[in-house]
Amino acid sequence: MKVPKIQCVCGFGCGSSLMLRMAIDDILKKHDLEADTFCGDVGTCLSNPCDVIFISRELAERIVDRADVPVRIIENFMDSSEVEEKVLEYMNSLN
């Protein structure tokens, strides 16, 4: 199976998105799942090739209507159980 590319998005692609990426990487590792994660900013994220976008609710509103890939909303980037649930749900949807 192709390794999914997960894009984590915030305003600039270097602050909170990086925090989210760390949280997602942590969950992937914990469950022995393979995915490529990278950060993007809300202005350009739709032109970056990826299979799914993880993003905060406020920023999701700006892209959700134009996105060609699934957009998954994370309310609390530092809540491991929320990140875990949403990452696993996405990964399971690929099977």
Binding site: C14, G15, S16, M19, D26
Partner: protein, 149 residues
């Protein structure tokens, strides 16, 4: 133990009157330490004005930051907790802990942020940071000095 945030970059029980003031007070620390210029504070506030309160990335916690720019002289972080929480207009309000993050580029700070993220993800960290009464306590909780006590 690795020091994630230096003593000089921490302030506890800071009094602020709104979210902008909270960002200004967290940012002022980095002006005082010579890591950023005033313009970066305005960038952070403008980011919330244009993009919304997405920086409130966890319950009670705001990660104030803006894009890397010339107003950032060195990679740096500051951490404050607030005497009284303020609303950013987020579902994670009220915010009691504000971290200001300044980066000179998109890459060089990754390792540090990773460690900070791991700390923040540990259950109860943000609540404990919110309760600290002194700078010393805030420093110790964040850098986890009393880990095994």
């Amino acid at each position: 133990m690795e020091e994630l945030v230096r003593t000089d970059n921490i302030a506890s029980q800071v009094e602020v009157f709104d979210w902008k003031d909270a960002i200004r007070k967290a940012g002022q620390i980095l002006i005082d330490t010579g890591d950023i210029k005033e313009a970066y504070i305005e960038d952070m506030i403008e980011s919330v004005n244009t993009l919304g309160p997405y920086m409130v990335i966890a319950k009670g916690f705001a990660l104030a930051h803006a894009a890397p720019c010339e107003a950032v002289l060195h990679n740096a972080v500051s951490l404050i907790n607030l005497k009284n929480g303020v609303d950013f207009g987020s579902r994670n309000d009220p915010v009691n802990v504000v971290m200001c993050l300044a980066c000179t580029d998109r890459q060089s700070h990754m390792e540090k942020i990773q460690k900070i993220a791991m700390r923040l993800m540990e259950e109860g960290t943000i609540e404990r940071l919110a309760e600290c009464k002194t700078d010393k306590e805030l420093y110790e909780v964040f850098n986890k000095i009393k880990e095994n006590e």
